[in-house]
Symmetry: C2
Subunit: 405 residues, 2 copies
């Protein structure tokens, strides 16, 4: 950790067990934590304009370095005043390093495997060549050869002008063996140094950098990585890589890793955002969480709802909603629930109307924001455990909050 937090200041406001809430002060305003981070993968949050995302209460969104590198390219975004100017977003931005997507191609379906679905892959493995220098791959757009190294990733993120950049790492999949994971983690540490060196010499002064703790499911590797990253001059930490084959193993890996990180550091859990996982992360003291699920589900007509048995999913494309006059979730303050019923939204979704995607995105992002906002309040009130248990038992975040306080 850097000792002089001039680029990013993390103020911890309250603690409740290991859980904590605070404010992350960035060059583009504060982020109240714990926070969920919506994805603006290619420069927009699915179907929404930036002012709407801010209107939902979000203070931080995540841009995807890999996709924005491929198109429209860092030069074009830099010319627009960075990603903030390009997309007209005035609040804070974090960018990933591009590593996740590149190595997802390399390892074949890592996006699924890392999150524990266990799907094996590899058919695209030959399309990416990983060396000590970096990763060489073909553009999905035009087949041209592209190369990302630690330096390239940091240069692209500098051009994007995000408030928080993530170092370039290899995201190891679940099916990688210990030997591969160990070597990969070592390389990720060398890449960490290269990222920080580049950033120190050429990075934007007000851009913070988060290091990424790897090590797969192996305790010794996670320990080693946590120590290595914590000792580096980073402004915060992220937990990446595979977290195991199921939720139990994920919990074990996180429970092992979280206490190894510097107390004062803001911690980002990468790519995790299911309701129970997010609450589990908060309980361990993690601060920010990004995940594609809430926005991706909307495209498939799935709304978030307080139903643990169905993984908090309400499938509006299923039959059974005809004539149903309930909102997606009772008491939800989102525009979809305030104005429409399941009958209409399920019809629109099955008819593949764009408006359905938009309404469900608004709902799902509201749901996630409510989840973290009420978690924050519960931490302040010292009732987080009860809040979490109540949500896990099937209460909505707002009901859980009321019954807890």
């Amino acid at each position: 950790m850097r000792s002089e937090p001039d680029r990013l200041r993390f103020e911890i406001e309250a603690r409740d067990g290991a859980a904590r809430c605070g404010v992350l002060h960035t060059a583009h305003g504060p982020i109240e934590t714990p926070a969920f981070i919506p994805l603006a993968t290619k420069g927009s949050v699915r179907g929404l304009d930036g002012d709407e995302v801010a209107g939902l209460g979000y203070q931080l969104i995540l841009g995807n370095t890999y996709h924005l590198f491929v198109s429209p390219g860092p030069e074009r975004i830099a010319a627009a005043g960075g990603l903030h100017g390009f997309m007209g977003w005035e609040r804070a931005l974090i960018t990933d390093s591009g590593g996740f997507q590149v190595f997802s191609l390399a390892h074949g379906g890592v996006a699924n495997e890392v999150k524990g679905s266990g799907r094996s892959g590899g058919e695209h493995g030959s399309e990416v060549e990983i060396t000590e220098e970096g990763a060489r791959f073909r553009s999905y757009r035009d087949g041209s050869e592209l190369f990302i190294s630690p330096e390239v990733s940091m240069r692209v993120q500098a051009a994007l002008g995000s408030d928080i950049a993530l170092v370039f790492d290899e995201c190891t999949p679940f099916h990688a063996d210990r030997e591969y994971t160990a070597r990969s983690t070592e390389r990720t540490h060398r890449w960490l140094d290269r990222c920080l060196d580049w950033h120190r010499d050429e990075g934007p002064e007000r851009q913070a950098v988060f290091g990424i703790v790897q090590g797969g499911v192996h305790e010794d590797l996670r320990r080693e990585s946590a120590q290595r990253v914590s000792e580096a001059p980073v402004d915060g930490l992220a937990i990446g890589g595979t977290l195991g084959r199921d939720k139990e193993e994920m919990h074990d890996v996180l429970a092992l890793t979280a206490p190894l990180l510097p107390e004062a550091a803001p911690v980002h859990l990468l790519g995790i955002g299911e309701v129970d996982d997010l609450l589990g992360g908060i309980a361990l003291g993690l601060d920010v969480f990004d995940c594609a699920v809430p926005t991706r589900l909307a495209r498939h007509g799935v709304a978030l709802a307080p139903d643990p048995d169905k993984r908090w999913r309400l499938d509006l494309r299923k039959s059974g909603w005809v004539g149903n006059r309930e909102p997606l979730v009772d008491g939800c303050p989102c525009p979809a629930c305030q104005r429409h019923d399941r009958d209409y939204i399920s019809y629109l979704s099955r008819a593949e109307e764009l408006t359905a995607v938009r309404l469900i995105v608004l709902h799902n992002l509201t749901y996630m924001h409510e989840l973290t906002t009420h978690a924050r309040a519960a931490i302040k009130a010292g009732t987080f455990d009860t809040y979490r248990a109540t949500v896990l038992a099937g209460a909505s975040p707002w009901d859980a909050s009321t019954s807890t306080s």
Copy 2:
């Protein structure tokens, strides 16, 4: 025309030559005319929620009887309190009769032909059987046989609960010969009577009914149809059917037809909404205009802009927009133009991001609303001819309005 306008009152506020502006009072509020009517074909305006459409200033939208008949069906919509309740739209609604879509299937591409593109078709002709009773066709959803007659159309529209229903007519295509058009127009008149009879006995009391003037490009048939429909107990009139092979012929057909209609009747020009055509219609005293073009263009990355040589189209999927910091249209009050530049919106559109469709829909509907709002002001000021000429010369509606007043 009905002499007792209890279901719909049309108040003409000012005239400027043949052009006029007024207020159409419906059961769900007033519509200031001349007005453009956005399509909510399947129960939503592309990508927007109802409150946003109202926020753009629209007081009337059009639901599509054919599509809503096929899915979700009139029973489901009636159970939700009609189309207003189903989609959560509190302002006025007009529904077409379903005829246009049915006969589009029958005649093969009538949607294009009627509007003068002259594309021939007919491969689907066998799928629709037209008899004196009505039209039998197969559902595009599940292949089941469906039947629409004048009575069925009115019954469906009654279930939808629109403020204005349109009578069931055969929309003759451009390639139909005089003989066919004459016979079809006669049948349309018999269908008109059947629609009005059904509606008198079983229609919702507060639903107004517009008759449709057919007759193709044939002067005598248009005259006969105009007289026949004007004499019927309708609450307003619509001009339907083919208007010829090009804009010149369209103008001739409209210039012939418009003066034949009762002075006091609100008149709807069906399916026409290009900037110049709409202004031409207003000049002839027509009042409301629906058209799929503004919302459909958005899907293809095309924004409306003051460029007569390009038919008021700004193609954002073309190259050449990289680094362009202009809004879609200078001075446009829409959210897209207020917040974003062509560089960003063109990137989003080429990347097929949903947000692009949404931003361009917001822009295009704002553009159409501005066009009619400023036309209305010009009519009141007695400067409509100048306003129209200025827009046709390439000014934006707001600039034309300023330079005219």
